[in-house]
């Protein structure tokens, strides 16, 4: 995996009071937007007993783990409350691992790297995000087949070694999202039938 920012969701995917589930390079991620609009990209794992945060609840300013109800604050990922010990202030070191998050072109970008390369520059035009297409194939099997089309920007998110997401942005309003969706879905089907 190159040292990059990758798109991992569209901004709309982070619906109110929802926890979005994805992964990047095998690292599972839990994404959620707080009530003020801030987008969090966190490791999908409660530091207590390792339960996936994506089966937990977005409370608006905190993410709550489903196992013991521990709550973690938006932004810092710090543990704010442990229901088994009401009134006990968890130590500052008790937190969920967080990743940097940038929203640009209607997509949510993150990186696993300390010093990633910049997010690609698509200029000042308005972009509309298409439905993300999950492909059961490695990134290298998809990259050579991406269509080149003006008004269409495509980015690949390596979920794992065997799964990739195609994030599409359309700048050309003459194509409907469904037209793009049909084309990308057909591409997915072709790649998957060629993949062992």
């Amino acid at each position: 995996m190159s040292s990059s920012w990758y798109p991992v969701a569209s901004g709309d995917d982070l619906a109110p009071r929802h926890v979005f589930h994805t992964a990047l390079g095998g690292q599972e991620l839990a994404l959620w937007r707080d009530d003020a609009g801030f987008a969090n990209v966190w490791e999908n794992r409660c530091p207590h007993r390792g339960v996936r945060l994506t089966i937990g609840a977005n409370l608006g300013t905190e993410l709550r783990c489903q196992y013991h109800g521990w709550r973690f604050s938006s932004g810092s990922g710090q543990c704010a409350a442990i229901p088994a010990h009401p009134g006990f202030t968890p130590s500052q070191g008790l937190k969920v691992k967080t990743y940097p998050c940038v929203e640009r072109y209607g997509l949510v970008w993150t990186t696993l790297d300390e010093s990633p390369e910049d997010i690609p520059d698509l200029g000042a035009a308005a972009w509309r995000s298409l439905r993300a297409i999950f492909v059961e194939a490695p990134l290298a099997a998809i990259a050579p087949h991406l269509p080149e089309q003006t008004g269409l920007a495509l980015f690949l998110q390596p979920v794992s070694e065997t799964r990739t997401v195609i994030h599409g942005l359309s700048g050309d309003m003459s194509f409907s999202p469904r037209q793009h969706d049909d084309a990308l879905t057909r591409l997915r089907d072709r790649i998957e039938s060629a993949t062992p």
């Binding site: 009071r17 929802h18 994805t22 994506t54 709550r64 439905r131 999202p177 469904r178 969706d181």
Partner: protein, 156 residues
């Protein structure tokens, strides 16, 4: 009077119970592991027929998505069905249809819900179906929503 018996661990039983709880239909729960749905002493042999017949008018679904729910229940590990559902819901979100058949939930949503929510126990992660995951939040937030073991409630 409606009576229902069946295992609390059964998706079939849950499907019917969820309709009753969401639609606010009064019913009594009887002991017994086998799914039994009786209305005024008359037994429904087919759970899907019961769903269709007992759903109040505003919970009725269009044929296509009700049939889809039946297909999903009989092939709960068919990922092509999950993909179809996810794609339909993604476009629905943008076209004012947060539920399968439009702007309000129907028996098609109830029909699909148990298999979707128990998919991980059958080895199917819902990570590749983000619109489906958002839909499941919407179902879980409906007034009257109840769970079966394996499903968690969402705070209001």
């Amino acid at each position: 009077m409606i009576s229902l018996s069946g295992s609390p661990l059964s998706r079939e039983t849950y499907r019917i119970r969820l309709l009753f709880d969401l639609a606010g239909l009064a019913y009594e729960t009887l002991d017994g592991a086998e799914l039994r749905i009786e209305v005024e002493g008359e037994r429904f042999e087919d759970a899907w027929r019961a769903l269709s017949r007992l759903a109040p008018p505003d919970w009725q679904a269009d044929g296509r998505w009700f049939a889809f729910a039946r297909r999903l229940a009989s092939s709960p590990t068919d990922t092509a069905l999950f993909r179809e559902l996810d794609q339909h819901l993604w476009f629905g979100e943008r076209e004012g249809s947060p539920f399968l058949c439009g702007d309000h939930p129907t028996v098609a949503d109830i029909g699909c819900f148990p298999e979707v929510m128990m998919s991980e126990q059958a080895g199917i992660s819902r990570m590749p179906y983000p619109a489906l995951r958002r839909w499941s939040d919407r179902v879980r937030r409906l007034p009257g929503f109840t769970v079966m073991p394996g499903i968690f409630t969402l705070p209001a």
